[in-house]
């Protein structure tokens, strides 16, 4: 290795080396932050809801005009749905996972408490809710039919019981069994007994850093019949029959009563795709930007090194005449690029961490895992080596006789 002479030669031609080094540092900084965001968004889109998504169909129902006798209408619809072939179970709710809409409650352990203990999403469900969503009960029990009350719009009947998720249970009663305890809801102004704990049920909101991101798995089910002009029928189909059940259920509901609009029907799998559409878009844009950045940097290195090779044709010929093998010439440019890239990478890691720090404070981003910076540095080093190869090969093909010719 001829580090010493390479460094002193570079010191006499600083500008180009600095330009490439800075470019590599910036590339590294942007690249590893972008990859970090990509990785996070991809992970976000994969978070499980805790439900049997592929087999759950959501039908959005809106009664026409000013519907009367909603209780009877609801029971008629549910009876019709539950009796359909291919249907495991069904219930009506105010929201569903991945819908990005719903209500939240602030919970306290007792009415006197000033600050609330936990925030939670509210799912309305009858005794068919757990089976329809495919939730796993890990403590306590399901709602009984007696506990399920009527809930008309504009009324505020206190719940007779609640079921919470494991995450919510741990926030409310860390280290204790939540089943058998009671929680106080600021909205309903009443203490309700927790009768069961389910393993997992994601809140309806999915946006990165958005509402719900701070209590992603804290959900609470309240036993009501959702007797509202607008609501969702959740239907659990037999495996593989979701789409067929969805079509048949729409038809069946219209047969039962034509005075309604079935605004939108989809499986939860489709709801997931829709919920994370923007994230996927961001991932693609960032991916394209990264690819473009890498390409620009690579071409920058190719361009500048080619220029250096052209500038140093004579010197290379002299080196060849003095006994340099082709490999030695290639190695010269590789070493030179490695030195620039090494300095650029160190600067780039610093820049990446500061860029992240700024995003952490400005956009509530997560802290960059330093491994990303290191992986990015290795990548930039390899990129440099790859980009320098072609001009280096051109340099190696300069004939040694150049030293005796062209004065």
């Amino acid at each position: 290795m001829e580090l010493g002479p390479i460094i002193s030669a570079m010191r006499r031609n600083k500008v180009g080396a600095i330009v490439v080094g800075v470019q590599m540092a910036i590339t590294l900084a942007i690249l590893c932050n972008a990859l970090f965001i990509i990785e996070q968004r991809v992970a976000l889109g994969k978070r499980p809801t805790g439900t049997d998504e592929a087999n759950i169909v959501v039908i959005t129902n809106q009664w026409a005009g000013h519907p009367t006798d909603l209780a009877a209408k609801l029971q008629g619809d549910l009876a019709a749905l539950r009796s359909m072939p291919g249907v495991v179970d069904a219930f009506a709710s105010n929201t569903y996972p991945l819908s990005n809409g719903g209500s939240s409650l602030n919970l306290k352990l007792n009415p006197e408490q000033r600050e609330s203990t936990a925030q939670t999403a509210l799912y309305i469900a009858d005794e068919h809710g757990l089976q329809t969503l495919g939730l796993k009960l890990i403590a306590g029990r399901n709602f009984t039919a007696d506990e399920v009350l009527d809930r008309m719009p504009g009324t505020n009947v206190p719940p007779s019981a609640v079921i919470v998720t494991r995450a919510l249970a741990e926030k409310l009663f860390p280290g204790k069994n939540a089943a058998g305890q009671s929680v106080y809801s600021e909205y309903q102004k009443t203490l309700a007994p927790i009768v069961g704990v389910v393993d997992k049920l994601q809140v309806p909101w999915t946006q990165a850093g958005g509402f719900g991101s701070k209590f992603n798995d804290s959900s609470l089910l309240e036993p009501y019949r959702h007797e509202a002009p607008y609501g969702y029928y959740l239907v659990h189909a037999q495996p593989g029959q979701a789409v067929a059940v969805m079509k048949a259920a729409e038809k069946r509901l219209i047969e039962v009563n034509r005075a309604r609009v079935l605004q939108k029907s989809q499986t939860l799998t489709e709801a997931r795709a829709e919920a994370y559409k923007d994230d996927r878009g961001l991932v693609i844009i960032l991916g394209v930007v990264c690819a473009a950045l890498v390409a620009v940097t690579a071409f920058g290195i190719v361009g500048l090194t080619s220029y250096w090779v052209a500038q140093r044709r004579r010197q290379i010929g002299i080196r060849r005449a003095l006994g340099a093998t082709r490999t030695a010439i290639i190695r010269y440019f590789q070493t030179e690029n490695f030195l620039i890239a090494a300095v650029g990478s160190i600067g780039g890691i610093g820049l990446a961490l500061s860029l992240n720090l700024w995003m952490v404070t400005a956009f509530e981003m997560e802290r960059l895992d330093t491994r990303y910076a290191l992986i990015g540095a290795v990548f930039v080093l390899l990129l440099g080596q790859l980009a320098v190869l072609w001009p280096a090969l051109k340099a190696a093909s300069i004939p040694p006789a150049l030293a005796t010719r062209a004065a």
Binding site: P5, R319, R320, L322, G323, A324, T325, P400, A401, T404
Partner: protein, 235 residues
């Protein structure tokens, strides 16, 4: 030391093929100081280029230090060049970005010598050419004569078997040229084998013998009996 027999070198440019050397035979013995003269375009540089393994030849035989160099690959030629040959060019050919000692260091690094050995050789070579005090100067900070001395130091430092010089004084004024010539003579007295191309008849006569090239061939020079001897030895 250097023996070429019926050697030819053709340069192909698009369609034309010009023979820069044809039926070229020469024999330079160990310790000789040979001056190569001839008109411009006669093939002097071509001869040195082939002798120094910078280019391949088209036909004939070439033995360097007892070894046949025909058919050697690029790496083998680079290695031989590095170990056995020291070049001195008309244009000095120092690397402008490197200081004097780093310039002399270039072939020594390719040789694979360790740091201590390289430092020793650099000091010794600089001493030989009388430039020990200038080891950290850059080429641009030296006079032409000094630059050529550095180039000679670089050529010497690896203790080559053969020194090849292409008009080493061509870019120097008379006084500096004389100094460089004195140095070459001194090296020759110390045992170096030197082949020097020159236009200058005054310099040519200071060599042991003169080889005259015309039109790519060595021509007989009647008053130089040794030349006949060399040609005979080569056939």
């Amino acid at each position: 030391m250097l023996k070429m027999t019926h050697l030819s070198k053709a340069y192909r440019t698009e369609v034309v093929e010009t023979f820069a050397l044809r039926d070229f035979s020469i024999h330079v013995r160990e310790g000789e100081f040979v001056a190569v003269t001839g008109p411009s375009g006669s093939g002097k540089t071509t001869f040195l280029t082939i002798a120094g393994l910078l280019e391949e030849f088209s036909g004939g035989e070439y033995q360097l230090d007892g070894a046949n160099v025909r058919g050697l690959n690029d790496n083998q030629r680079s290695k031989l060049r590095n170990e056995k040959i020291g070049f001195i060019f008309q244009a000095f050919n120092l690397i402008a970005d490197l200081n004097v000692q780093d310039n002399i260091d270039v072939p020594l690094r390719y040789r694979g010598f360790n740091g201590a050995e390289r430092r020793r050789r650099i000091q010794e070579a600089l001493g030989r050419v009388g430039l020990s005090a200038r080891s950290r100067h850059y080429p641009a900070e030296l006079s032409g004569g000094q630059q050529q001395r550095v180039a000679i130091a670089r050529a010497l430092a690896g203790s080559p078997r053969l020194l090849l010089a292409d008009e080493p004084t061509g870019n120097l004024d008379t006084q500096m040229a004389r100094g460089v010539m004195d140095l070459l003579e001194e090296l020759h007295r110390d045992g170096a084998t030197i082949v020097m191309v020159t236009h200058d008849p005054e310099l040519a006569v200071r060599a042991q013998r003169e080889v005259h090239i015309v039109d790519g061939q060595v021509v007989d020079m009647a008053p130089q009996p040794r030349l006949v001897e060399a040609a005979q030895a080569g056939s």
